[in-house]
Amino acid sequence: MNLLGNILYDTIYHSTPIILAVLGGLFAYKANVLNIGLEGMIVMGAFSSSLSILLFGNFYLGMIIAVACTLIVGLIFSLFSITLKSNFIITGFGLNILVAAIGTFTLKFMKLSNINLSQIINVNDMKVAIPVVDGIPILSSILSNHTIITYVAFLLIAVVYVVLYKTRFGIHLRVVGENEEAAKSVGLKSDMLKYSSILIGAVLCALAGINLSAERMALYTDNMVAGRGFIAIAAIYCGKAHPVKSSIYAILFGLARSLAINLGLYAGPISGLFDMIPYIMIVLVLLFVSSMESKKTRLRGFRNA
């Protein structure tokens, strides 16, 4: 493959789990709950899918179990943050620590250094060639041969948009986030809506985890999620939780990462610094966007959102 093709293909590859976490996380964000637990949810998705595929030998069963386990994490998060009115940032951090520790402990208990599924899953079989695109030279190398969840992730951007802005549920959810008093005054069940927003997030994070581990690499290792949940939170913030805008930030991040990796090959000794690109780029883009925006207003000072 040519370099450009590689960069673009990898962009999609790296964006996928972040997009899923972004889409999952923004429901909660819209409902005014900052879900710091995204990271833990992705870990749970990756870990539980890989472990159950290892135990039962079936990818789809693994997917189902992973979704179920991640939903449990989501339920715990909701129970504490909504029903018990906890400080949900602490709850999220607590869950992140807990899930990671459970993963490490289980691996240790099973005397495994990682979960290697390559005997069960052939990564190449997970890729889907798209018939129409497949003929076109460059496009095929970029768009074709991704995994199902990758395609699902990109489709979900549109789906989430429709759900949030065109359905009853979406309207109610946004209202709960924007003005909970207003929601309650017309009898919306704000707690229920918040629960569901978190649980939707859990399902999508489970997919992110599965994509990251079993589907793309047939492998789970400790720490493999490596902060993607936090990156997703950053993307949600940057795009103000708009499904399309936030996803664009996720893709931007994927692009930056792909650039860093692909160009690092030619960078010589300073390639070590290339890993900074994604983070610095997000900051610069934000700076640009914010300064454009702040130029628009003559108002001074800060307001609480």
Partner: protein, 356 residues
Amino acid sequence: MKTEKMMRSLLGILIPVLSAFLLGAVLILAIGEDPITTYRIMIEKSLFDPEGILKTLHLASPLILTGLAIAITFKANIFNMGVEGGAVLGGFFTGVAGFSLTGLSPIVHVTICLIVGMVTGMIYALVPAILKAYFKVDEMVVTLMLNYAVVVLVKYLSQGVFRDPASGYVATYAISDTAMFNKMFGSNLTMFFFISITVFVILYVVFKKTKLGYEITAIGKNPEFAEAMGMKVSTNIIRIMLISGALSGLAGAGYLMSEKYRFTLDFSGNPGLGWDGMLIALLGSHNPVGVLIASVFYAALKTGSEYIGIYTNVPKDIVAIIQGILILFLSAKFIFERLKIAGKIKSEAVKEGGKA
């Protein structure tokens, strides 16, 4: 009134702690170990053994600082996640100052190192501060991103120009003896603990007694009001972030000079001084005394878990699991108010609240 309130907050902490330990006990039993022995060692060694308690206080020293660094920004409603980066960067450059300067007297060298750490932290914090104060860029995203960038940067530097080539792993040179905090009473405790306590006292006074503390609170609660009342929010954001940066840099500096002595890639540990500090600030509800208590508690857990590994067969990860459960339970402060038993205390307290 006071006692009722204290009872309430005591219960609010005790119940989650006990429940977390109970759940942990179930887990320990499940893997065929003895929870009582485990907990006994954990508590005895971290709090009731002279050497252990000193070690706990030693480990609490940087946490007090990172906790305060975050508390001060959270109080002003600045969602600063950059304390981790500040501590790492501060530690790194303190390390550089610690080995590259020679022939100084200990007092001078130690002072220089501490200043280097603080200044590094301040410069680092200045970036998100300026971006927020003058361009209204979301500080949470910036600080989060910069943390990741710092990790890459110090990795690059510590395996590049500042690397100790004699070392088989990635590390900068060890700092000279003149830059080290000496161990006291034959324990791990050093001067650093007393520095942290001094900083705590200063911040306590700042929070409770000063104009600055007042402005921080006002900005945190209603920035528009604060601005209209002439508190110059942007200047204050920068001021607060600089203090936070100095504290985080100091935490890194002190930790390096009292514990690590050279910069390594795992310098800050896992999850890291800054992240621990974030939880500590949250658990201590952004209040200096709360931060102090939470730091010591957290450090005791750390010390205790080290001893568990040596005296029992309970794997370390169990401690991490208990810690996760604990944090989870502590997050729900109101948990006990929902229990029927506590109903009485609550109604009493409400009555009292109205009277005072």
